[in-house]
Each structure stands twice: as structure tokens, then as C-alpha cells.
């Protein structure tokens, strides 16, 4: 099948949602020009895009309902079941300092020109076809404009019920000057989930994002975050991934204002015993202004043939002097069969900068294990402690202590269930 036919078939199987005609059309044109990716594409060399290219989702059984996360956090809950907004389960879309509406039901003036704009900017120099596909086809999502300090967090809950669900959600968030918001995301969402989030962070605004991708085994997901970070603004994102057949999380962070700060972190735990586990983090941080500070912290714990990949880049544009860019990608391989593939890149066009990256791969340190064992800690418990300490740098990126505790509890739970 010719490439254009494959793309047409892919699009035909999933009709576009309403509204945002101009933004959707522009994205469809971008997608037509770039086509669907293949294994020969540089940024898909380690992850096979075939399941995302397929016309329909490979069926995936919904997992058992997980204990809800962030239940104690004061938040505005919004529930999507297989990508369909669930009004009954959701709170009223109203709170102080924030305008919230649904993509499928409204087109506020502020959103028209912004929809797809950050995604379009994030298509260069690396193509992200599934993000363009998302902008063109998204069936729903939230349009959020934050004008002040939000009263509480917005808690997005993605429920997966149908074996063949194939949701495409697109969230657009505009943080006005000095505004602050935390977004929480949990759940597997569907058999194949395509999600994009565009976040425009204006001067001095602060945006926090904490996501837990569902622990369900058979799900597949391709997600994108596009952020534009203005002067003195803060962007922080943390993702915990446990299980899932195939997850590709991409982020494109564009630091356009002076003194901006962007931190993006991820912890992934995969056990191939339950089925395939393939986790891919593809991160691109662009420094385009003075004194920007960026941190990428990605940790993976892999066992029983699980596979993790990391493709990260710090791109410092000409003139972005005094940039402080840091990136670390590490993986702990708990047995002989697991694999880690990494490409930590630096591309730097300014001289007065401090940029560094590190990447390590290896097994649990025998010396550390022996130390704990010699002090009477049972082997499995000792291993659990070492895994948690390995993940600490990533988890520490979560500022809110209560949220951090919930994440750590979820990690401990995973470790308890996956003792060898």
C-alpha cells in the first residue's frame, strides 16, 4: 500500500471531531506532507510505529480497576471513558481563576489561533506525525485558560472499558501572566490512546503536571506534550509509567523567554513477564533565550525482557547564553533479558553555556545489596530499597509532598507485586 493510501485509510477509520476547522486543516496538511513514520525514520529506530500506524487499535482487554490515585487531593475531576466525556462522573467545569470548556462543545476566541500552533512549532526539526494526526482528528479534550492561581488541581481520569477503544484527546492550556495550575492525569484511557497537550506558559506563570499512565498490561499509547515557556515562567512535568505494551511519550519544550525554567522527569517500571513492555521517552528541550534552566531526569527499571528507550536532546539556539541544561537517563536492568537503548543528544550553538548529560545502564550494585543484606535486610526488600533510591532523583521532581507520597506508594505497590 502506498504511503498516502495508508494515511488515508488511517484517517478514514477515525473521523475528526467538531470545531477548530482551520487548526485541524493545517494539521492535516502537515500530516499529509510528512506521512506516517516507519522504522527507517531516525526517531523511530528503536520503537516500531506499526501499531500506531494501523487503521484500528489492536484489541486490549481493560484491566482490573485500580485504586484511584489522588483521591485525597482537592481537585476538579474530569472523567473520560474510552475518550468520551463522562458528565456524570465529572465535576462541574468551573472554578475560580480558570475557564474550562470542552473541545468538542466550544471554540472560545482565545483558543482558535492557539489550537495546533505549539504542535506545529514542535514539528521542526523532528517530525511528530502522531501529534499532527491528533490535532487534525481529536474528538475531545479540554480547553483551559488560567488567569490567576487556580483554586485547585484539575484531575483528569481516563477510564478504559472497551477492548477496541481508540481515543484521540487534545488538551489546550493557556497560562496567562502569573497564573498557576496543577494538572493530574491518571488511567489507561483506551486500547490505543493518542493524546496531545499544548501548554502555553506566559511570563511568570507556573505549570505543574503529574501523570500516571495506567498499570494495564495490553494498552498502547502515544502521547505528546508541547510547551512554550515565556520569561520567568516555570514548566514542570513528571510521568510514572508502570506496564503497558507500548508507550511512546514525546515532549517538546520551547523555552522562549529569559530566565525560564523547565523540568521534565519520568520513571518507568516494566516487567516483561506479564507480556510485552516497551517504553519510549523522546524529549526535546529548546533553549531560545537567556539564562534558561532545564532538567531532564529519566529513570527506568526493567525486568523479564522489558525494553526501555530514551531519546533526549538539549538544543541551545544561537544567542541563548548562560543556558544551564542538564539531562540524565539511567536504567536499572534487573535481569539478563531486559534492554535499554539511549540517545542523549546535545546540540549547542551558543558558547557561554553549561550543558551536560549523563547516561548509565547496569544491574543492581552488588556492593550496595551486600551492605543491606549484611545489616539484616532481606534480599527482596533490599532490592526494593535500591530500586526506590535509584528512582529518587526523578520522583524528587514532584514538588508537592502529598502527591509525591502517592507516587511512592504506587511504586512500592508495583515492586511488591513484581518480586522475582
Amino acid at each position: 500500500m502506498a504511503a498516502s493510501e495508508a494515511l488515508s485509510a488511517r484517517l478514514a477509520a477515525q473521523p475528526a471531531g467538531p470545531g477548530f476547522d482551520a487548526g485541524r486543516q493545517a494539521a492535516a496538511d502537515r500530516l499529509a506532507a510528512m506521512g506516517l513514520p516507519g522504522r527507517r525514520d531516525e526517531y523511530w529506530r528503536w520503537t516500531d510505529p506499526t501499531p500506531f500506524n494501523a487503521e484500528t487499535a489492536t484489541p486490549a482487554a481493560p484491566g482490573e480497576a485500580e485504586a484511584p490515585l489522588f483521591a485525597e487531593v482537592d481537585s476538579l475531576k474530569v472523567v473520560f471513558v474510552d475518550g468520551v466525556f463522562d458528565a456524570e462522573a465529572s465535576d462541574d467545569l468551573a472554578m475560580g481563576g480558570v475557564e474550562i470548556s470542552r473541545l468538542a462543545a466550544s471554540e472560545p476566541a482565545w483558543a482558535t489561533g492557539l489550537y495546533g500552533a505549539l504542535e506545529a512549532a514542535g514539528q521542526n526539526p523532528v517530525k511528530r506525525p502522531f501529534a499532527a494526526l491528533n490535532t487534525a482528528q481529536a474528538s475531545d479534550g479540554l480547553l483551559i485558560r488560567v488567569t490567576a492561581q487556580a483554586e485547585k488541581a484539575i484531575n483528569l481520569v481516563y477510564v478504559h472499558k472497551s477492548e477496541v477503544s481508540d481515543p484521540v484527546l487534545h488538551h489546550l492550556i493557556k497560562m496567562e501572566e502569573g497564573a498557576e495550575l496543577t494538572i493530574l492525569e491518571t488511567g489507561p484511557a483506551g486500547a490505543r490512546f493518542n493524546k496531545a497537550m499544548e501548554v502555553d506558559v506566559a511570563k511568570g506563570a507556573r505549570f505543574h503536571h503529574i501523570r500516571v499512565q495506567g498499570a494495564e498490561q495490553d494498552r498502547r499509547a502515544v502521547t505528546h506534550i508541547f510547551a512554550r515557556v515565556a520569561a520567568e515562567a516555570l514548566f514542570k512535568s513528571f510521568t510514572l509509567t508502570v506496564n503497558g505494551q507500548l508507550t511512546r511519550n514525546e515532549a517538546y519544550i520551547d523555552m522562549v523567554g529569559d530566565d525560564a525554567v523547565a523540568h521534565i522527569a519520568g520513571a518507568a517500571l516494566g516487567d516483561g513477564k506479564d507480556g510485552k513492555f516497551h517504553h519510549d521517552d523522546t524529549v526535546f528541550v529548546t533553549h531560545g533565550a537567556l539564562r534558561g534552566e532545564s532538567r531532564q531526569v529519566f529513570k527506568k527499571v526493567l525486568k523479564n525482557g522489558a525494553l526501555g528507550t530514551f531519546q533526549g536532546k538539549i538544543w541551545v539556539k544561537p544567542g541563548a547564553q548562560k543556558t544551564d541544561g542538564y539531562q540524565i537517563s539511567q536504567s536499572l536492568l534487573l535481569d539478563e533479558d531486559s534492554q535499554f537503548l539511549a540517545k542523549p543528544e546535545l546540540e549547542i550553538y551558543a558558547d557561554d553555556v553549561k550543558c551536560s548529560h549523563g547516561s548509565t545502564t547496569g544491574a543492581i550494585d552488588d556492593t550496595a545489596l551486600f551492605y543491606l543484606r549484611s545489616r539484616g535486610v532481606p534480599e527482596e526488600e533490599a532490592k526494593g530499597l535500591l530500586v526506590l533510591s535509584f528512582l529518587a532523583d526523578a520522583i524528587d521532581e514532584i514538588e508537592d509532598e502529598a502527591l509525591k507520597e502517592e507516587i511512592v506508594a504506587r511504586l512500592e505497590d508495583w515492586l511488591a507485586r513484581h518480586r522475582s
Partner: protein, 504 residues
Amino acid sequence: MTQETDIREGVDRETVETVQNMGSYKYGWETEIEMEYAPKGISEEIVRLISQKNDEPEWMLEWRLQAYARWVEMKEPEWALLDLPKIDYQDLYYYARPKSMVEKPKSLDEVDPKLLATYEKLGIPLKEQMILAGVEGAENINLEERQVAVDAVFDSVSVGTTFKEKLAEAGVIFCSISEAIKEHPELVKKYLGSVVPQTDNYFATLNSACFSDGSFVYVPPGTRCPMELSTYFRINAENTGQFERTLIVCDKGAYVSYLEGCTAPKRDTAQLHAAVVEIVILEDAEVKYSTVQNWFPGDEEGKGGIYNFVTKRADCREPRAKVMWTQVETGSAITWKYPSCILRGDDSSGEFYSIAIANNYQQADTGTKMVHLGKNTRSRIVSKGISAGQAQNTYRGLVSMHPRAKNSRNYTQCDSLLIGDKCGAHTVPYIEVKNNSSRVEHEATTSKVDDDQLFYCRARGVGEEEAVALVVNGFCRDVLQALPMEFAMEAQSLVAISLEGSVG
């Protein structure tokens, strides 16, 4: 620059002198000599002609033709971070030899004096009992201990090899590859293309079709090569590509240290150089391969210079084989070069030390590949990239731990230094780990020349350019230390020369 620069403790006098003697590209002159060319362009006829000029057996021609047939179907690679100008492969000469070389001289005494003078002027006298002269400080070296055998390649042909007899006494074969094809066909047949297959990549395939000469080394089992071997490549003729092929075979328990140097005249038009170096290392053997690449880098406006597309690979084929690549890349308008180690034998090890300097409009995309296949294999990468002017400098590397390569180790350190705000420094490492008993560590940093260090030097009366050269030499020290002595000294001065004009 003051001649009376006070040299303080801890500052190497030689370094300062070298910096003071900085000049522009020293090797940019041309030898006026009558040349014989093959017609311009590449075709099956040209491949046949090169084979015929070298008086090759049929099997060699067949091998070349196979490569050529494959090459015409291939495309130039585009993945490097290089702004590649269109190269017209039909607009250059693939074979150029001095007329005096048509009848191959029987010994060095019969070689055209003009050619001998050329190498003399380059500091590489083709006389025996001589060391690599012309290198600052070389006169202090004990002559007996520092004999170096030289194979001199001028455009498309080898003009002579020194110390052949003495090496033969030890059983070492050191000659041009064209001679080896005729005189040692069994060795060449066995090993040629066994490390870099004919169809490896676009430039290696082109080289397989049209290589004109190069060096061949065979060190027999248990032999420590009695002296360092070297090849000096000189491109002289205009519009001519140089396609040399080097094959080094180090048999069980043997050792050899090999040096490579290269220069070319200054010209406005760019010239193509596409070489292949293959190294086969058997059980317990060790090879050190050092390069000081100083091809003409183009002028300050980026005109001219050598396009250097080189495939270098060492195969540690048997247990406990060792290889060490050391490179100082200061020349060439474009560098595309990834000396690699295939660590096939258990307990084998590979090391890669590199300094890559790009100034003015130079572009360098260079690094290494460490492919760990055997158990307990070790590799170490130390790369220092320096960018100045409008140059772009990329480290690109691969570390791959195969599932079978249990208990292996890699350590990688890549540092980049930027001098000026118009250049770029990039790092593109690929790390593939497919077993958990191996440990892989990668670190990279990018920074500018440290102001405190510069200030320290300046406060002590060292001029700005010298101060930068000193700091850069310090930055490169880990790699400079890995070089054989003469090369280390030459490299230090090259570092300074390459950066000339990059400050202020």
C-alpha cells in the same frame, strides 16, 4: 606577542614556544611535478584502468568491479550533522601518479629527487636511520630507540617504504598495498574486506572500487614490531581524489604501533579523500593506531579544503585482542570519520581517544563505535571537541552491548569546548545495552573556555591567544597523553595553529 614572555612554573616551555611559532597552514605549498592522470570521472573502465595500472591479478579486479556495481546503486548518507555540498563524482581524477613513478623505482635511491624533497620539506625524510624529523623537540629523542618506518603515499601511489629489510628480518611485512596484492595475495585475499565489507557504506564502497594504493602491514605471531610504522599521505595534484586503503594484520601475540599523517596544498576548490583502514587483531595481539589529520582545512572564508570521508575499523577477532585508536583531527573542510572497534573476542578491549578541532568554516562529524560481542570486553572513549569561528563540531558514537557480551564495560567521556558565539558543538551518542551484567556509563559536558583559567594566564602576562592555546591544551591533555611522543608534540602545536584567529 612579546618575545620576552615570562614562562612560569607549571607552564610547559615547549608549549609556549610552539604557540609563539604559530603560523597559518604550513603545508599549503605544492610540488611542481609532471603527473599522469586517468581520465576524469568514475566508471567501470576507470576501475579497470586503476587495476591495470597497478598490474593487479584478476581476482582483485573482480572484487573492485563488484564494489563498483554496488556503489552506483547506493546513495550518499545524509544522517551526519554536516552541510554537505554537492559532490560531482564525475568531475575529479581518480588516479594521478608522478610520471617518474611509471617505472616503479627499485629502491629509495631511484625515487625522483623532487618527491624525496617534498617529503623532506614536510618533515618526513625518506631516509633510513632517521626519525620523524621536522617535529619540534624531536632532536632530543634517542635516535636508536625512535626509528620509524615510513610508507609515503603521493596522490594515488606509494613512492617508497623505508626500513623494509630491517622489518623483514623480524618477519614484519610493511609495504604498499599494491605490492602486497602481488606479493602476498594469500594474506590480502584472506583479510581484505573482512573488517570493512565492500558494501559497508557509500564511501567505503567507492573506495573498494577505486582505491589506488595505501599501506599493508603484517606482523607475524609473537612478534613485537621492532619500530613504529607510519604512512604519510600527501595529496598534491589538483582536482584529484585520494582513495587509499590500509590493511593491518596483527597475528597472535604480536604488537605494532602505527602512525598516520596527512597534508595537502592550499587550493580554492575542495578535494575528496575517501579512505578505508582495516585492522585485524588476533589472539593476545595489540595494535595502536595514531592519526594526526592535518589536511588543508579551507581558508578563512571556507573556500577549498579536503572533504574527508573515512571508514576505519578494527576487528578484535580473537580473545584478549587490544586496539587503541588515537586521533587528532585538525584539518579538512569536512570530516566524516568514526574509527570503530568490533570486540568479538572474549576479554578483548578497545580504546578511542580523540581531539577534534574545527575553526573558521570547518565541519566535523566524528566519533567511534564500540561493538561489544564477546564476554568481558572493555571499551573506553575519551573525546574532546573544540569549536571556534563558524565551525560545527559533532561527536557521534555508538556503544553497543550485545546479549552475549556478558560482564562488559564501557566508559565514555565527551567534552566540548566552544570558543566564540557563532560556532556549534554537538553530541550524538547511541547507547544500546542488551544484557544486564554489563555496565555502560556516558558523560558529556559542553562549556566555553574557562574565564578564570584565562584570567590566570593573562594576569601572568600570557597573551590572549597563547592563553587560549594553553587552556585548550590542558582540556585535551587526556588525549595528548595517549599519543606517541612525536605526535603528541606535533599535536600540541597543531592545536594552537588550528585555533589561530579564533580569539578576539
